[in-house]
């Protein structure tokens, strides 16, 4: 039995063929959020609606009727705090995570603002992030700050899932890990990640093939080669932080000055979070 969550566009015909499956719906249109939820109410299990918008966060019009609909909003920039102010109470009531791009410098401050105001949020990386110091500062804020604040992803996800003896892949946060998520387009073409889907790197086609995806050669191959980079002689394979980075930024040229510093600090922070998790009196196993 197939247990993947399927990430797909909002296409009623497609969704009617995905009955009883968990789905993440990709959309750019805020106006159809309520409609999507209604449409999926009885037939599919809605894992989340992922809304990618070009609007700054402060210009998005949030609605009370979104209620408990699981939402992941991806916005390129924070915008003006003043313009967001009248919506803060409402946002706090919604079942929402707000993601801001690593492209704009003020977004790092914006994420601190949101988190400190108890709004769950996250950073999404652009292809070649240039501001590693800012990313590192935000990670420190997310993991080490002592005040009560809302989670900032992907840092929080790593902090609660990290195990030193395993690889920790924070791509889950972005619905992008093929062990849990598969991506579909309107033509029912299946890809391992959103990037693969966009590039046309499909592993199969057709809803029926989802049930036997574990037997799919391309799927199995992709699973096997995921950690192959460890066997290669390159910067990533020698990096201590590979366990939580998994060579996501292998194309960067100057790794020693960029991702390596950040991910090494991130690994230390993950260790710190783990030791905090393990602190306290542990009762014997029942």
């Amino acid at each position: 039995m197939m247990d993947h969550i399927l990430v797909c566009p909002f296409n009623e015909k497609l969704l009617s063929r995905l009955k009883q499956r968990a789905v993440v719906i990709n959309t750019k249109d805020f106006n159809i959020i309520r409609y999507i939820n209604k449409e999926l109410d009885n037939s599919n299990k809605l894992h989340a609606i992922r809304v990618q918008t070009d609007k700054p966060l402060s210009e998005i019009h949030f609605h009370e009727e979104w209620g408990k609909i699981p939402l992941a909003v991806y916005s390129p920039e924070f915008g003006e705090f003043k313009n967001l102010l009248h919506q803060l109470n409402l946002i706090r009531k919604l079942n929402i995570r707000i993601f801001l791009s690593s492209q704009h410098e003020f977004n790092f401050t914006g994420l601190r603002i949101l988190s400190s105001l108890q709004i769950a949020c996250g950073l999404y990386f652009n292809e070649e992030p240039h501001n590693w110091d800012s990313i590192n500062d935000l990670m420190h804020y997310a993991i080490y700050t002592k005040t009560t604040h809302a989670p900032i992803e992907p840092f929080h996800w790593v902090a609660i899932n990290y195990q030193p003896s395993e690889y920790t892949d924070y791509s889950f946060v972005y619905f992008n890990n093929p062990t849990q998520y598969l991506h579909l387009n309107d033509q029912e073409q299946i890809a391992l990640t959103a990037e693969d889907l966009a590039k046309g790197n499909f592993i199969d086609q057709g809803i029926k093939s989802l049930d036997s995806i574990h037997k799919n050669k391309k799927y199995i191959h992709a699973e096997n080669v995921r950690y192959e980079i460890m066997l290669q002689m390159n910067d990533c394979s020698f990096c201590q932080a590979f366990r939580i980075c998994l060579a996501k930024f292998s194309s960067l040229k100057n790794k020693n000055q960029t991702c390596k510093i950040f991910f090494s600090d991130f690994l230390n922070a993950a260790d710190f979070a783990l030791s905090k998790r393990n602190k306290g009196n542990q009762l014997w196993q029942l």
Binding site: L85, S116, K146
Partner: protein, 332 residues
């Protein structure tokens, strides 16, 4: 409570300004978002829910409204020290975002000078501010000479329906600087002048409250009895660390001591630690000189902490022209 400077720029140039030493060297930018968030977290960890925003003139920080609303969203009680002098644009923005808050959450202390030393345009702007924010505002008045007059205050409180309280400050010397303040030997005269306003406080039902550094003994026992009644039993003659945090994240005890053992906020883990650090320094000064009067050394009311012996900056001023014979911490 901590005082956070949003900017070091000011719209006025008051002759008594005890923030002057700090402001004059100002080449620093305004407080940034990141520093504000750090400060808010720091105060929250310290268990502190009250915060004062000041400057310079805090409304000159372009993010003044953003910062104030952010802190209110984080459930801090915010008090803004302002001259009330701001552009129409800033006033409109403030009205839009701040005017509807309850006074238990947001308040203003508007420091006013006598109309005789304020320009008509200043008075016009203050009028606009108080018309909009009167119900959230307490007036503050700094005494820096013995021939002061506060008659106009009573009129303003009624005219703008302000909070029925007057925060009375005393201008203090800035060690090593020149500013106007009432010399120690004239404080009794100042008290006599202030006492003449007791009937106005009573008639207008306005409570007086002293800012720090006023010694108790400049009033007679009879006057103190009246002050007790006028102030609803809340009258203080204290002097202790106020804790000011600058836009550059430096901290100091209070404006008159802004050059004295300035430290980085990052050196401390809580507001309590900062308070202890500066209280310890204050107590070292008090060990050298009990207070601003000689009799402070053996005063039972100082020992029982009913009075702190006046502003510690006066005491530090004693040391500036003498040989370095005191505790080394007093010469920082």
């Amino acid at each position: 409570m901590a005082n956070v400077l949003l900017t070091e720029k000011c719209v006025r140039s008051c002759p008594y300004c005890f923030a002057k030493k700090h402001m004059d060297g100002s080449v620093l930018p305004e407080l940034s978002w990141d520093n504000l968030i750090y400060i808010a977290d720091f105060l929250e960890i310290s268990g502190e829910r009250k915060i004062s925003l000041l400057g310079g003139e805090p409304t000159l920080n372009p993010l003044f409204v953003d910062f104030t609303t952010y802190l209110l969203e984080r459930n801090f009680h915010v008090n803004v020290f302002t001259s009330g002098i701001m552009s129409d644009e800033k006033l409109l923005e403030s009205q839009k975002f701040l005017a509807n808050f309850a006074s238990e959450r947001l308040s203003f202390t508007c420091n006013v000078n006598h109309p005789d030393i304020s320009s008509p345009s200043e008075m016009e702007r203050i009028d606009k501010f108080l018309t909009l924010f009167g119900r959230l505002t307490t007036l503050g008045y700094n005494i820096y000479r013995t021939d002061f007059s506060i008659d106009f205050i009573f009129h303003m409180v009624n005219k703008y329906n302000l909070k029925r309280h007057l925060r009375v400050g005393l201008a203090h010397p800035i060690p090593g600087e020149i500013n106007e303040y009432v010399p120690v030997e004239d404080l009794k005269k100042l008290a006599m002048k202030f006492v003449r306003n007791f009937n106005l406080f009573e008639r207008f039902n306005i409570t007086p409250g002293f800012d720090c550094g006023i010694p108790m003994c400049i009033f007679t026992d009879k006057e103190l009895g009246k002050l007790y009644k006028l102030s609803n039993g809340i009258i203080k003659f204290g002097c202790g660390p106020a804790i000011d945090i600058g836009p550059d994240m430096m901290v100091w005890s209070c404006f008159p001591l802004s050059g004295f053992h300035k430290r980085s906020l990052y050196e401390f883990n809580s507001l309590h630690e900062i308070g202890s650090f500066y209280r310890n320094l204050h107590s070292k000064i008090r060990t050298e000189i009990g207070g601003i009067f000689e009799k402070c050394d053996n005063c039972v009311y100082r020992f029982s902490e009913l009075c702190q012996g006046g502003c510690v900056a006066h005491s530090l001023n004693h040391f500036k022209d003498e040989a370095l014979v005191r505790l080394k911490e007093l010469y920082s």
